[in-house]
Amino acid sequence: MPTDNNSVMVEMREVYKYFGQLKALDNVSLDVLDGEKLVLIGPSGSGKSTLLRSINQLEKIDHGHIIVDGIDISDPETDINKVREEIGMVFQSFNVFPHKTVLENINLAQVVVRKRSKKEAAEISRELLNKVGIIEKANEYPDKLSGGQQQRVAIARALAMKPKIMLFDEPTSALDPEMIGEVLDVMTKLAKEGITMIVVTHEMGFAREVADRVIFMDYGAIIEEGTPEHFFKNPIQERTKLFLNQIL
């Protein structure tokens, strides 16, 4: 649920992003409230990842403004690393660090970026590993872990920074079906804690349970938005209906 003060956590204003000729984001304007859980859906290539990645500037936008927690990240003066500390990101392909143990994966940025002591970092890491349910794997290397476990490490790694916002880019798409549940469970639990979440996913069960708002994108533009109920019961746009028919 959005917190009562309803301040805006992410504000996108007339955002455009081009890859050569291709318009990946087409005049996107969007407010995400503090504590809001937003789910992004849309066909392949519709710009969901690009939208998400522009929020922590893994993609640089060509026009418009993105303001994260009051800081305009499109301003060249902004120290993007400082902003990124506040934005956790979870990738489809996990991207855990294969040369580090599970615990080291979660410690690294805490020590290097947040400048916590090794001891303090390890305490936080263990706490988070408990939370995502893989404390027993703390000293394993990632290649000994299943996909679902690796993704939970990646979530814990992002949470260790104590971010204000969590971005999830299709976190369960690369997983075997039997592992999707364990990752969604962690995310659902997290959603109850008041953190702002923006999730690209086609798991509509998750959207129904967790999302305050769903946004449907196509060709780089926001086509339709509403509550999960709205999308299940009476989507308005033809393109939305077509898309939902395919995934439901």
């Binding site: 893994l58 990738f91 040369h99 690294l108 970026v113 947040r114």
Partner: protein
Amino acid sequence: MVEIKDKKEKKETPRPVIAVGDGAAIPSKEDVGLFTAWRFSFIGAIAIVAYLVIFSPDPYWRILKFLPDGILVTFQVTTASIVLDLIIGLFTGLGRISKNRILSGIASLYVEIIRGIPLLVQLFYIYFALGRIINVPAMASAIIAMAVCYGAYMGEIFRAGIESVSSGQMEAARSLGMTSSQAMRHVILPQAIKTILPPIGNEFVALLKDSSLVSILAVSDLLRRGREFAAESFNYFETYTMVALVYLIITLFLSKLISIMEDRVGANR
């Protein structure tokens, strides 16, 4: 010259491997043919040296006694150049992948120029160019010259190694708020090193062999000691036989040592 290909490994998932064209072949256990060829030549070379020294001590034993100073110098030149070479290589590699146009331009220019000039010509050039500007000992200029020449190739090895790490790793590190140099240091380079190590081993052996070129620069390395002996005793054939055998033994020994080290690194990540 430097390329990345997938090396098939039985137990693990395929990991990209950089293959460098020149340099000594480093034997591994999977490569059975080469392994026995290695054993054959190593033991053979030692046997021939032993035979010559025992049955014909004059001049062979005298030659062998004359060479150790040169072997030491050869090792000094090789080791010092490889260290310098690794530093130059790291920065060249980073420069080549840099988004900064000027940095990547300088790095690419350096690589292109070095690759386009024969090693011997470069050695002469850097040696005498350095001599004009500052007064450095022959050995130091030789080391700098070798390192500069080899740095270009080393830079390509570093570049290929860094590029072999998936871009998702950099993105994950950056999304945690790391600067690009923090990400390089803690995430990318430690992973790249596994791919980089075998070709560095190759380069080390190749550099040791090419270090014989510094003998023309008034550096008393193994080859130069041989030349000095030959010039005095007129035993040209005998001397160069010994010199060749000593190089061969050293090179084969080093190749083996490196392949053992690589196994270690591969085994305990």
